[in-house]
């Protein structure tokens, strides 16, 4: 059994989760990032490679070392499984994460749900939990929490929260470039005219991904290997109080090379009452904020707060 199960928030506020690192950083950058995370006011940290299992800067045992280090600082550590599981290596990584019993697991595809075999797990944002019946089904299979889809609007999020099974925690992403799509194909390799299996690990060159602009220079997508993200940075920091009141237990920050620590500090100030809920003061380098999904608008849009009531 995992020694770190989910604790519901004691007060009517939110806990801060740091999502899995979606980019491919050199080994040393990863270590120094998580060494810094140890001192940050985050309650929950997701670890592991969820995008591309060709990435190998950290071996499984090294992720576990980071997990143990963070657990010793009192954080809840969750190991995430790959989202798109198709190659032998994807399957092996997924099964290995699910086979360990030391840490809670974030199941990111149906196969991982199967492999958890009714042991406690949390459902990841790509399991497509759009309504309460799906959440209840996952609960029967052992889910103790779930992250809602990034495209879910605020009203749906809060009504899902109201309809959830007892004891299940809910999490919503509030800051970072949004993971939007996954492909068997690697777009970073494609950009460099390299084959996926001989990609030279070019993702290492783009610590915050590779931005694709429209013909008019509008930043549109971010390429991150087989994953396509938004070019904009989701910023729902202005909504976290509404989320907490509506029963969202955890708000997720997605790691970036720049802006992450400032966003976390901002969220912490909000929950401590030192600062009003409002947009994050920091963005990943070069990114514009967006929050359209919250109101059911296109996710790329920024809706000023006075109009953003869900």
């Amino acid at each position: 059994m995992p020694t770190s199960l989910v604790f519901p928030p004691e007060r009517d506020d939110f806990r801060i989760a740091l999502g899995p690192l979606l980019y491919y950083w050199p080994h040393r950058s990863v270590l120094s990032f998580y060494a810094a995370v140890a001192d940050l006011p985050v309650d929950r940290v997701y670890l592991g490679e969820t995008v591309c299992t060709r990435r190998h800067e950290l071996r499984f045992a090294q992720w576990i070392e980071i997990a143990q280090m963070l657990r010793e600082t009192g954080k809840q550590v969750i190991l995430s499984t790959p989202v798109l599981v198709e190659s032998e290596s994807d399957i092996a990584v997924m099964r290995r994460v699910c086979a360990q019993d030391d840490f809670l697991v974030e199941a990111n595809d149906l196969g991982a749900v199967r492999c958890m075999e009714r042991r406690p797990f949390v459902g990841g944002p790509h399991l497509n939990v759009y309504h309460a019946d799906t959440l209840a089904w996952l609960g029967q299979l052992g889910a103790v929490g779930c992250t809602v889809p990034v495209e879910m609007d605020g009203r749906s999020m809060l009504s899902l929260s109201a309809a959830r099974p007892a004891g299940m925690t809910l999490e919503a992403m509030v800051w970072g470039r949004m993971p939007l799509a996954f492909s068997a194909r690697c777009f970073t390799a494609r950009h460099h005219r390299l084959r996926k299996d001989a990609c030279e690990f070019r993702c290492l060159e783009y610590p915050d991904g590779l931005v694709a602009n429209t013909g008019e220079g509008q930043a549109f997508f971010t390429l991150n290997g087989i994953q396509t993200q938004s070019a904009t940075c989701l910023d729902l920091c202005g909504e976290v109080s509404n989320m907490a009141v509506g029963g969202i237990d955890y708000v997720r920050v997605s790691p970036h090379a720049t802006g992450t620590f400032e966003a976390i500090a901002h969220l912490d100030a909000i929950r401590r009452g030192d600062s009003m809920a409002g947009p994050s003061p920091a963005m990943p380098a070069g990114a514009q904020p967006s929050n359209g999904y919250w109101t059911g608008a296109p996710g790329i849009q920024w809706i000023a707060q006075e109009h953003a009531e869900a």
């Binding site: 798109l84 199967r114 759009y130 799906t134 889809p149 194909r185 950009h191 608008a297």
Partner: protein, 362 residues
């Protein structure tokens, strides 16, 4: 008519097949079901006339992933379609392959009840919570896991079978032929694969690009790059194709303009403009039919409920002939020139590819 052009490998689509699997003579050949799209009664009739073993269709709302204006079926039309299909010994598969949205779940429940009540032979579904409803409420209703359900490997398939008695899985177009072959060896679950049609380069059911740009996605509204968000601007002969005002592609004077499907637009990365995600191409797996048949694939699906009855007639006709040929003599099977020409004519951007099946980009 436009010439068929080479795909990303530089190989012409009608070149000899380079299938990684030889067909073994000992095995009993199981003829896969040919599953055709029907966006209207007219298309359904074309599919039946040209030899489809099954048609798939959906209601006129967000409960299915081709929720386009002027398309799809009223319940009355489905009743007629089911009767006509059954009279010819064909099946009707009822697509309810989007994700029920909070506060509107009854609409999806209604679609499931309608499928059962109207005599559909199976439902094609993606949403686990909704599948749970279907399995509980209509235990004899046959359930196929939609491609939107994103079951890409054995563990995922095993879960859905164990939980809901799923009878068939439509495989995501991210898998290669060897991966499909392996799955087919690992499970006796019926597997359905795409044989022809527009190609999603992204794992289906897990792509939010469309809602990011327009608010509506395949998962939440049953649409991708919806028509209501499209705008064409012409200036000095240059054509701009926009989605929600975002420039998806710009066509020079005289350049044929395509629909602004957002993953198939031209964008600029590090100063280089091009098809960053995917060229506008269609999947054509005709040359892979002997390999797919040899694996025991249960069904070959044609994409395109949004396409015309003419498309359905032509593509079903070609696939019917090709599947029959491949079953008759798999070792000597070779796609006929006229098939490939017909398919090429109906391909997006007049180009075809074998997509993830043969992975030239791997």
């Amino acid at each position: 008519m436009t010439a068929v052009t080479a795909d990303a490998t530089g190989r012409l689509p009608d070149s000899p097949p380079e299938t990684p699997y030889s067909t073994s003579e000992q095995r009993i050949i199981r003829r896969p079901q040919l599953v055709a799209p029907a966006g209207s009664l007219a298309a359904l009739r074309m599919a039946l006339q040209h030899g489809a073993d099954a048609v798939y269709l959906g209601l006129r709302d967000a409960t299915n992933a081709r929720n386009f204006g002027g398309l799809n079926f009223s319940e009355d039309d489905i009743r007629k379609g089911v009767a006509e299909a059954h009279a010819r010994g064909a099946e009707v598969l009822f697509a309810i392959n989007t994700f029920a949205q909070m506060g509107q779940v009854e609409r999806w429940h209604h679609a499931v009840d309608a499928a059962a009540g109207l005599g559909a032979d199976a439902v094609i579904m993606a949403d686990a919570g909704l599948i749970a409803y279907a399995a509980r409420r209509h235990p004899s209703l046959r359930i196929h896991l939609s491609v939107q359900g994103s079951a890409t490997h054995l563990d995922a398939i095993a879960l859905m079978r164990q939980q809901f008695g799923i009878r068939r899985v439509v495989l995501p177009r991210v898998l290669s032929v060897p991966q499909i072959a392996k799955l087919a060896r690992q499970t006796d679950m019926e597997l359905e694969v795409f044989g022809f049609g527009s190609l999603c380069v992204m794992a289906e059911g897990r792509c939010l690009l469309s809602s990011y740009a327009t608010g509506d996605s395949p998962n939440n509204k049953g649409v991708c790059s919806p028509a209501h968000a499209v705008r064409w601007d012409e200036h000095d002969g240059t054509m701009d194709a926009r989605l929600s005002g975002i420039l998806i592609d710009r066509y020079a004077p005289g350049e044929p303009a395509g629909y602004p499907t957002l993953c198939k637009g031209r964008f600029t990365v590090e100063g280089e403009r091009g098809y960053v995600l995917e060229e506008p191409t269609s999947l054509n797996a005709v040359s892979l039919l002997p390999a797919l048949i040899d694996m025991g694939i249960a069904a070959i699906k044609i994409e395109g409920r949004q396409r015309s009855p003419r498309y359905v007639a032509d593509v079903v006709g070609v696939l019917r002939a090709a599947i029959d040929d491949a079953c008759r003599d798999p070792k000597r099977f070779s796609p006929r020139q006229e098939w490939q020409a017909t398919l090429g004519r109906h391909a997006e951007g007049d180009q075809v590819t074998q997509g993830a099946y043969d992975r030239p980009w791997r």
